[in-house]
């Protein structure tokens, strides 16, 4: 298939075609007549007037065809317009160009075509008048010419169409434009006015003649924007439309009239394009909107004024619309909505939700329900509710609104919401205050009685009932002061008032309220007489009761029971007058304002002398600071603390006072009123304490100087103090001892022993001494420790390092031991040699020789005794004497000793008188040592007896002890010697030693031994006899 080529002047051709403005217009009879004629004339089923557009052929008239157009590329006419002669296809199936053309091969089945081109006046082909057959046929020359003739008719008709139609349209258009209420102005491509209608003339205040030739940019035009600014001519909508090629519509423009008036117009400008991108002209149409503008301005000023008013009103004026679908909005809301809901009117104009969300969640459902109710019965709405502000605080608001039903089923309320938070707060406060007053009235420890103006009791609180003893029912309605006042007091006060005021005050209600009537507070002490007849001192305060308009409506009496206070005051006075403590009140500045008589007794100043003076006048200069500080502390209300200072007695010497200061507050105002000081003379105490401190210091110095370690230990073993001149003697560092128990600082066995000693010392009150090897910081030391009771629960442990002494003692003891051994060795051989001689080993020695041998032997024995005694004594002294204590019958032991000593006594012509007791006398003793003691006493008894004398030996029970006595007749022990009789080498007469054959150690050893056996030894001596005794603890006899 061959598609038609475009026409050589295709663009011009298309422009000319479009200029006809015929495309897509309705069928017209004058064209249809032509095509019908063609069908008849040529005997073809179809004839068309086909106009070849850019991409289609459009049929202005079509006889025998339903289609209105077909595509250009399959068209036959597209080919036809390329020739001036008719284009004829007698059989399309035989033509290579068309045999496969859809019009040919398709349902239409076109076989024959003959088309003559139609030209415009310029000769451009616009389309064809064509014939179509569905059978092949020949087309004769005649037929060709006839077709050309018909085509000329059609061409003519096409051209005629253009001319005639445009002419009639123009007339109609002009008529239309002329009759329009809108102003219409035609302007050419430069904006120059070509024509205008009458309305335009009227609106613009200019005749057409005046307008014609004037352009929009002509400076004579005075156009303004709505805001009053000048509208430059080059931005006039007409010029905009010309410049852009697009309509410029809906502009509101003010046009200044030549007569000075102003017209407001709504102007539209449409460019005239005529298929050209550059507008060839522009049409402006405009409405006079001056009236509307005026109305709008009026409305705007009204709205403005309303807004202003609304802004002045504390609250919001609003419209609220509830639509049938449940949505809501505030079509109008004054700026006050910001204060109420915290939103702007715009926020809620379409949707009320942002405002409604602010309603307190507790109130929201209630408000919703009341709004719905108001909507259903169209009754005015009023609610008080809470709104949450952005800051999270609550506001109370009161809303009022009147609903109306709208045509669409919405309900619209007009209303007002005001902020009533302040009123609400006031209301709550008022309620609280009322509740508080009520609670006060009911529970205050003050009697409250109210009366009306005439004195009739209107109320009394429970405390008041208790005070006067009457019940409320008995009092309300009664006349005050009849029931509970002392009539005499009332009369006396009435007289006093009459005197003071110079006008008569009757002894009745007026006495109490005359001041309150003048708005003053009347406060006075009175005596109340209770129902039971008791008299009670009270403080009555009367004030007036005013209503909200400040009108006096009654009186209120507040009554304080002073009974307790009076009693306290009386006690206080009694105390103040009799106590040795000085009680003084000072002004806030410090001057004495009151002082008790004790001041005179203690300091020698009468109270009157002190009043108005300042304490510093009497206080020792060095103590001024102390007193000032105490006064300042009291003024600040600090808790009282005792302070000491010196005060000059009237006679010049100083006394020590200890004082406590405190602040007194005014009972009515609560403000500081006085400073109270109580002071006590502590001179004696202070001096004693000073002396004690000195003693303590001295003691401390002493303790410090002593070489001893001194511990103060509590009966629970806690070490309270440690004193030592240096640390070397301590088991540990001082801080590791003080505050610790003995068990913490020494092995538990030792600690038990020490604690037992401490308790023993505390229970017996006697001093105990022990020696111990101690591991000290410096090494091993031997300490001799004395446990001394010190108070009821503490002891002093005084430990002395006796290591050196012990070493000396050890040396001495070893020396003595060695010496006595060395002495015994020769004694052994002398004694044995003498014994052998006396035993006759060298033959019988008789006479003087024998006597001399005996003498030598006796002195050997004596020498041995002396050595033994020295050894014993030293051992006793050094504590090395070891006893073997067991339970012994003292009677047996004494008997043995008496028997053994018998020969010795007999040699002195003395005898022993001894009778053993019948019952055994058991005692815990070392039997050898006991016999040694007895031997010593018996030999002494014999030695100091007169010749022929009898030494009496007795064993007696003495309470829980055994008493052994050895009594001899003989010269008394010289008084001067008695105190030393148990000391070593103590014999009354040095010559005595030799004459009596003693070593001078016997009694000293005896005492040491007795004491080791927990007994004691003593004696009595007079002119005729001397009696030594031993006391030994008894063991209970065996059961």
């Amino acid at each position: 298939m061959q598609a038609p080529n475009p026409h050589p002047r295709e663009l011009e051709r298309l422009a000319a075609l479009r200029a006809l403005r015929i495309l897509d217009t309705p069928p017209e009879p004058r064209f249809d007549a032509l095509t019908r004629t063609a069908c008849r004339l040529f005997g073809v089923p179809t004839a068309l007037i086909s106009l070849v557009d850019e991409n289609r052929q459009w049929f202005k008239s079509r006889a025998g065809l339903n289609a209105t157009e077909t595509p250009r590329d399959i068209s036959f006419c597209g080919h036809a317009i390329l020739n001036d002669e008719p284009f004829v296809i007698e059989d399309a199936l035989r033509d290579q160009r068309f045999l496969d053309n859809p019009l040919v091969a398709g349902d239409l089945g076109l076989r024959f075509y003959a088309g003559a081109p139609l030209h415009d006046p310029q000769g451009l082909p616009l389309g064809t008048l064509c014939l179509i057959g569905y059978q092949p046929r020949a087309f004769t020359q005649d037929e060709r010419e006839a077709l050309i003739d018909l085509a000329i008719l059609a061409e003519s008709e096409l051209t005629t169409n253009q001319a005639s139609q445009s002419g009639s349209d123009q007339v109609r258009l002009d008529a239309l434009i002329a009759s329009m209420g809108e102003g219409v102005v035609f302007q050419d491509g430069q904006g120059v006015i070509l024509s205008a209608n009458a309305a335009a003339e009227e609106f613009l205040g200019l005749s057409l003649d005046q307008m014609q030739g004037r352009s929009s940019i002509d400076p004579r035009w005075q156009c303004i924007h709505e805001d009053g600014t000048l509208w430059p001519g080059d931005t006039h909508p007409a010029m905009e439309a010309l410049r852009t090629g697009k309509p410029c519509t809906g502009k509101v423009m003010g046009v200044r009239l030549p007569n000075g008036g102003l017209h407001w117009i709504l102007i539209n400008a449409h460019p005239l394009l005529f298929d050209s991108p550059t507008p060839s002209g522009v049409v402006c149409s405009f409405q006079n909107i001056s009236d509307r503008k005026r109305h709008e301005e009026t409305l705007q000023s009204l709205v403005h004024r309303q807004t202003q008013i609304a802004a002045q009103v504390p609250g919001m004026i609003y419209q609220f619309r509830l639509r049938p679908d449940g949505s809501s909005s505030f079509p109008y809301a004054s700026e006050g909505i910001a204060q109420i809901y915290g939103v702007s009117p715009e926020d809620v104009q379409k949707d009320a939700t942002p405002a409604l969300e602010r309603i307190h969640s507790d109130d929201r459902s209630r408000i919703q329900a009341s709004v719905l109710k108001s909507a259903s019965n169209l009754a005015p709405w009023q609610e008080t509710y809470r709104v949450l502000t952005e800051q999270g605080t609550l506001r109370w608001v009161l809303g009022n609104a009147t609903p109306e039903m709208e045509s669409d089923g919405s309900v619209l309320w007009h209303g007002f919401i005001s902020d009533i938070t302040d009123q609400k707060i006031q209301q709550v406060l008022l309620e609280q205050q009322e509740a508080f007053q009520r609670a006060m009235f009911l529970s205050a420890p003050v009697a409250i009685i109210s009366t009306d103006l005439s004195g009739i009791v209107t109320s009394i609180n429970p405390y008041g009932e208790d005070l006067v003893g009457y019940r409320s029912e008995e009092l309300v309605g009664q006349h005050s002061p009849a029931l509970w006042h002392d009539p005499q007091e009332v009369v006396a006060r009435a007289e006093q008032l009459t005197h003071e005021l110079g006008c008569t005050i009757e002894p009745g209600f007026d006495v109490f309220v005359h001041r309150a009537r003048r708005g003053e507070l009347e406060q006075r002490e009175w005596t109340f007489i209770t129902k039971e007849g008791l008299r009670k001192p009270v403080l009555l305060s009367v004030s007036s009761i005013l209503d909200s308009s400040d009108t006096l409506v009654g009186f209120l009496g507040a009554i304080l029971d002073l009974t307790e206070q009076k009693r306290t005051e009386a006690n206080y006075r009694l105390l103040a007058e009799h106590t040795e403590d000085i009680i003084a009140q000072h002004t806030l500045e410090g001057a004495f304002s009151f002082i008790t008589p004790a001041a005179e007794r203690v300091l020698g100043y009468v109270p009157e002398f002190l009043l108005g003076r300042f304490p510093t006048e009497f206080v020792h200069e060095e103590d001024h600071g102390i007193v000032r500080r105490a006064h300042a502390a009291a003024l600040k209300g600090e808790p009282p603390y005792p302070f000491r200072y010196r005060v000059r007695h009237r006679e010049g010497h100083y006394l020590w006072l200890e004082s406590l200061g405190s602040l007194l507050l005014d009972p009515l105002t609560g403000a500081p009123s006085k400073v109270l000081f109580t002071s006590r003379d502590i001179t004696a105490q202070e001096e004693a304490e000073r002396a004690l401190r000195q003693n303590e210091e001295r003691l401390r110095a002493l303790l410090h100087a002593m070489p001893d370690l001194i511990f103060l230990i509590q009966d629970d073993g806690t070490i309270l103090e440690v004193h030592s001149h240096d640390e070397s003697g301590l088991r540990a560092r001082r801080e590791d001892l003080v505050g610790h128990t003995l068990h913490e600082v020494m092995p538990s066995g030792l600690a038990d022993d020490r604690l037992a000693r401490i308790r023993r010392v505390l229970s017996t009150g006697s001093v105990e001494t022990y020696e111990a090897e101690v591991d000290t910081l410096e090494g091993k030391e031997t300490h001799e420790t004395r446990v001394v009771p010190c108070g009821t629960h503490t002891v002093l442990l005084i430990a002395r390092d006796i290591s050196e002494r012990k070493a000396m003692e050890r040396m001495k003891s070893e020396f003595v031991s060695t010496v006595s051994h060395e002495l015994r060795t020769p004694i052994t051989s002398i004694r044995a040699a003498l014994g052998l001689l006396l035993a006759g080993i060298a033959g019988d020695i008789k006479g003087q020789g024998h006597d001399l041998l005996e003498l030598a032997r006796a002195n050997t024995e004596r020498l041995l005794r002396l050595v033994n005694d020295i050894l014993d004594f030293e051992k006793a002294q050094s504590g090395q004497l070891t006893l073997e204590i067991s339970r012994q019958d003292l009677g047996d032991l004494v008997t043995q000793t008496v028997v053994a000593a018998g020969p010795y006594a007999a040699a002195l012509d003395v005898s022993y008188a001894w009778e053993a007791p019948k019952e055994p006398a058991f005692a815990p003793v070392d039997p050898v040592r006991f016999q040694q003691i007895m031997a010593n006493l018996l030999s002494n008894g014999a030695k100091y007896s007169n010749s022929g004398g009898v030494v009496r030996v007795r064993l007696l029970r003495d309470e829980r002890q055994w008493r052994v006595e050895v009594e001899n007749q003989g010269p008394p022990i010289p008084p001067a010697f008695r105190a030393h009789i148990f000391e070593r080498f103590a014999m009354a007469d040095a010559s005595d030693t030799r004459s009596r054959g003693g070593t001078g150690l016997g009694l000293a050893i005896s005492r040491a031994l007795v004491e080791r056996m927990e007994g004691s030894i003593g004696f009595t001596s007079d002119a005729h006899q001397t009696c030594f005794h031993i006391l030994l603890p008894s063991s209970e006899p065996k059961p």
Binding site: S817, S820, H821, R824, T825, P826, I827, T828, S829, I830, R831, A832, A833, G835, L836, L838, A839, I841, T860, L864, K875, T882, E884, V928
Partner: protein, 132 residues
């Protein structure tokens, strides 16, 4: 040890003091009638004890060189002398010392100075006690 009525006969005396050696020898030989060997020190006694084979040894405690207790301990090391009765003779007769000397294995302690008249009897008594 089986009981025996054999009387005490042979005594070995160890004593450093020559004077005491004289009076002791007189006492034990002349008064007591014992067979006696006297040694001046522990070492000499140890040297001669086997040859002499005493019934009983009488040991001085304090001696220069080897003292009494040491002599006893050395003596006990000899198998032949493991059970020979030993009596100390000393000038130190404190009870504690006596107990200590006995604990070394002595059967008795006799104090110095001794009474020559009673010493033999005293030893016989000790011997008899020991025998029983």
């Amino acid at each position: 040890m089986s009981p025996s009525d054999r009387p005490l006969q042979r005594i070995l005396l160890v004593e450093d003091d020559p004077d005491i050696r004289v009076v002791a020898e007189l006492t034990l030989k002349a008064l007591g009638g014992f067979d006696l060997l006297v040694c001046p020190g522990g070492q000499e006694a140890l040297n001669q004890v086997d040859a002499f084979a005493p019934d009983l040894m009488l040991l001085d405690v304090m001696m220069p060189g080897m003292d009494g207790p040491t002599t006893l301990l050395e003596l006990r090391k000899k198998p032949s002398m493991a059970s020979i009765p030993v009596v100390f003779m000393t000038a130190k007769v404190q009870p504690g010392e006596v107990a200590q000397l006995k604990s070394l294995g002595a059967i008795e302690v006799v104090p110095k100075p001794f009474d020559p008249a009673s010493l033999p009897g005293q030893l016989r008594e000790i011997w008899a006690r020991h025998q029983s």
